[in-house]
Symmetry: C2
Subunit: 369 residues, 2 copies
């Protein structure tokens, strides 16, 4: 990458390509306002597991402003396979041991952290210290404190940090936000949000407390929490939570099923639910004064469906990861904070922490700061 | 009605027409096993409001074993209009003052109480004392204690009592029970159930605490509670509830929106929700080990839809009230306790009472006996 492009990406050039999400009056439109040739940011993926393999790498191929340029993995076979498949030069490939040398590699702009939850903090902070912008998968980390350390590290390094809250870039979810913000059906009255699935392989890291920091709630319940927050447009002030384990062997270390209840300052309540032990929960419902809106399935990678009291929603299916990465690239090019910034992750982890606190205290209602 | 028929209805003749609900392997089938001529029970409706007018009287016309034979109303115009419309003889028409004389009328077998909630007890007990079987609309009354008095009065009078839990006779709901009981998708893991609507006329009795005994929860939340109970097939052991009022003027006397959480002995949890201030909530979801089932709309008078992880449910739309009344007529003819007996109403009112108790105590978890 040329030095002039690096300066540009650091925000010295403000005139840039812009992406406008115009979801307010109809189908989601992406408009490239500038006529400049496309600029692409070079991404290095840290962690080449199933999400990176099946979603993020294919998503990168569909981006306008991003390029898969680097890899970080502890597995020689993966490094070799990926290098060949995506034509990644040897000099952009790292192990976890050599990762810090990425600071000397001007060909990597962004590090995308796709590791187990409890490793997000370490690699985000190491990437920031290496001078890279960081996109980090959700959940941001396993505690709000760790999340705050990540925010601080990126701030100190003057690098941007975004969390992989892909739904916030998806037309169906943008429509839920629009309906709520613009009061198309009047004021919001209540929310129901739930996401769960039947988890397979009992040996996977998602079922290990040390790596995952929690079970269904951390992994997929967070979508229902996010959905409640961005649909309401407010921050919850109270949470009360309930847990059950119908399979205490498989879910020895992490939560199997949690239901929780949020109260927002405007009096809106949200009933939320998550599970690792049953399929079918995949919904975001908002009831308003004069109508309602619902997504179901709401949080899948593809095939979302939505409807309102007026009829079906009809939006294109976008690649969630491509859209999320292109947005972050745009933020970097414009030196603009992402709407899914690290602070957004800190807020979620505070609430997730309060949910676990409520459960530890016999479903006591926890006041949120 | 002839004396022999009365004896028969009192259970002296056990061989009777039977209705079999065979929902286990496909569409809902009603089979009249006996070749005897149809016998019809004569119903008197107490309270000629909108439910009686729009649902119950038309439903009666579709029954096999029931007949609209009597009326009780305080409004002369209504008595006159109904008498003409349904060809009801003058001798079977009562006011609330003359109602007790129904004991001397052998042409009325069943009294169907369709009054405001807080009048259910009085008229059920008066009907039982007059020697009539009683079908009483939901909610059974406004307290479990009052419900128990109704059960006791009917027992003392040796009359049958059933509550208007129409959904328990509807193929879609029977299918939810069947899937759960037969473990088609393995053990039940979790439930979500919610029913609400935007209530109109602010002067109606449903918004008066003295007549309604509560708001959305008593009127429509009870469907979500019922749905959770008959889908799980167990009795909840804990309830925690949350209330909000976004319109404290309209909902000065009764609850506007309540969300509550149930825990069942087998570890299954249910998240439930009700409101009088938004449309769209009308759902019963059950997540199992290897699949799921959902009704939405679940509780409307007509047009129910259901699906499972295997595909859409496909059942005929039945008249809920006709099916409910025919079942009660069959119970009377066979001197058999209804599956929606008074005891079922007592159980619900105990739980509804615990929901209000939880709310009064800052969403404290209430243990259920």
């Amino acid at each position: 990458m040329s030095e002039s492009r690096r300066s540009f990406l650091k925000g010295t050039t403000k005139k840039a390509i812009a992406v406008t999400f115009a979801a307010s009056t109809g189908p989601f439109i992406i408009t490239a306002r500038a006529a400049e040739p496309e600029r692409k940011l070079d991404f290095a993926l840290v962690g080449l597991g199933s999400l990176a393999t099946n979603q993020i790498a294919p998503g990168l191929q569909k981006t306008k402003y991003c390029r898969l340029a680097g890899l970080v993995s502890g597995t020689p076979e993966k490094r070799k396979k990926w290098a060949a498949q995506y034509n990644v030069p040897e000099k952009n490939i790292y192990t976890y041991e050599t990762f810090d040398q990425i600071k000397d590699n001007p060909d990597i702009d962004v590090v995308y952290v796709v590791l187990p939850n409890a490793m997000h903090g370490e690699y985000t902070i190491r990437a920031a210290k290496a001078g890279k912008h960081v996109l980090c998968e959700k959940p941001m980390e396993i505690s709000a404190q760790k999340c705050q350390e990540m925010v601080d590290a990126c701030k100190k390094a003057n690098r941007l940090l975004a969390i992989g809250y892909r739904c916030q870039f998806v037309p169906y979810h943008l429509e839920m936000m629009r309906i709520s913000r613009e009061k198309q059906f009047g004021p919001l009255k209540l929310i129901e949000a739930s996401f769960g699935f039947k988890i397979g392989d009992p040996s996977q890291w998602r079922l290990k407390q040390a790596l995952a920091g929690g079970g269904a709630l951390m992994d997929v319940g967070i979508y229902a929490l996010q959905g409640s927050r961005y649909t309401s447009g407010e921050e919850p002030i109270e949470v009360t939570a309930f847990e059950t384990k119908t399979d205490p062997v498989k879910f020895k270390e992490v939560d199997e099923s949690i239901q929780w209840h949020l109260k927002f300052p405007n009096g809106v309540m949200a009933n939320c639910s998550t599970t690792y032990n049953s399929n079918g929960l995949n919904r975001l419902f908002a009831g308003f004064d004069t109508g309602w809106a619902q997504l179901d399935p709401a949080y899948s990678y593809d095939g979302l469906q939505g409807k309102t009291s007026k009829g079906p929603m009809n939006f294109p299916q976008v690649d969630h990861f491509a859209t999320e990465m292109d947005d972050f690239a745009q933020c970097i090019m414009q030196n603009k904070k992402s709407k899914v910034s690290g602070e957004e992750g800190v807020r979620d982890l505070k609430i997730l922490g309060a949910i676990y606190e409520s459960i530890r205290n016999g479903s006591k209602t926890i006041k949120l700061a």
